[in-house]
């Protein structure tokens, strides 16, 4: 999985790291100044959170299916729940259905407290 993550230029650009804890696969997005969207708050750009969620969903799917073929996103939606401050983020994905052709995945991203997510994503991928 680490090799796969390193092979994705955008994942390297974000500096995303892979962690495998007791709760399963987790991704970490280290904070840096150039991912800020609103400099006045400051808050991480909503698009970066969305991209981080989508990346987490994708990696979880590849990890689960053991399929070498990279799933293609059909659509991806993000609910923004709280503003994400200048801190690291963590995300974890759950596969709701792994069908023959389509997989439904839900993802959450949080900062200090996993029970207080800053955003939640839901996506469908073509396998």
């Amino acid at each position: 999985m680490k090799e796969l993550l390193d092979a994705i230029p955008y994942a390297r650009f974000l500096g995303v790291e892979l962690e495998r804890g007791e709760a399963g696969l987790e991704l970490r997005l280290p904070f840096r100044d150039d991912i800020i969207g609103n400099a006045n708050l400051p808050a991480i750009h909503g698009g970066v959170l969305g991209a981080f969620l989508e990346l987490t969903a994708l990696l979880r799917l590849i990890d689960e299916s053991g399929n070498a073929k990279v799933p293609k996103p059909i659509n991806f939606g993000v609910d923004y729940l709280r503003s994400a401050g200048p801190k690291d983020c963590r995300a974890r994905a759950e596969i709701f259905k792994l069908g023959r052709r389509i997989a439904n995945v839900r993802v959450v991203v949080w900062q200090d407290d996993a029970t207080r997510p800053v955003a939640a994503g839901y996506g469908k991928f073509l396998l």
Partner: protein
């Protein structure tokens, strides 16, 4: 279009101005540029960069980067729909990936604010690399108005400075 005067950002409507995204560090990092704005809409350009690629085999930009471009454009479209500038925050954004984008191409997004109420703004948009008639992604989203106490002061200052410059030019013409 004299009614355009009623919009908070009317003075900067038209072709994009160099520093319209200067208040958003991440938009600057991705070298996004505003192409065009008008009443309730915005068009933003994202230059291709190898570091944004999601699928190295095909050389296509990662899907989430398209979300970033659409989110940025949508926020600007909402600001362009306001009579008086108020702080906004994305409530949700859903992107449909209609097809893969052409590898190595610059991307564009056009988002319209379809409805602005006191508390919520609704947006709809698309992204393309060749022609706007053939988008590779579409989006639907909502924004909360007055979500946080911080106004995008950068845009407001820019609009005020441009309105002032316009008044100066008008005075010069008169004298």
């Amino acid at each position: 279009m004299p009614e355009e005067r009623n919009y908070a950002l009317a003075s900067i409507f038209g072709a994009g101005i160099e520093n319209m995204l200067h208040h958003t560090p991440h938009a600057l990092r991705l070298r996004m540029q505003v192409e065009k704005t008008g009443p309730g809409f915005a068009v933003v350009h994202l230059p291709f960069a190898a570091e944004l690629v999601g699928d190295p085999g095909r050389g296509v930009v990662f899907g989430g980067v398209i979300t970033t471009l659409l989110d940025q454009t949508a926020g600007l479209a909402v600001a362009c729909a306001m009579k008086e500038l108020r702080p906004i925050a994305t409530v949700d954004l859903r992107v449909d990936y209609l097809r893969a984008a052409e590898p190595g191409k610059d991307l564009y997004a056009h988002v319209e604010c379809t409805k602005l109420t006191r508390a919520v703004a609704f947006v709809r948009g698309s992204a393309w690399e060749g022609s706007e008639e053939d988008p590779f992604a579409t989006c639907l989203g909502t924004f909360m108005i007055g979500a946080n106490p911080v106004v995008r002061t950068g845009l407001k200052k820019l609009a005020e400075a441009e309105a002032e410059a316009e008044r100066d030019r008008a005075r010069e013409v008169e004298s």
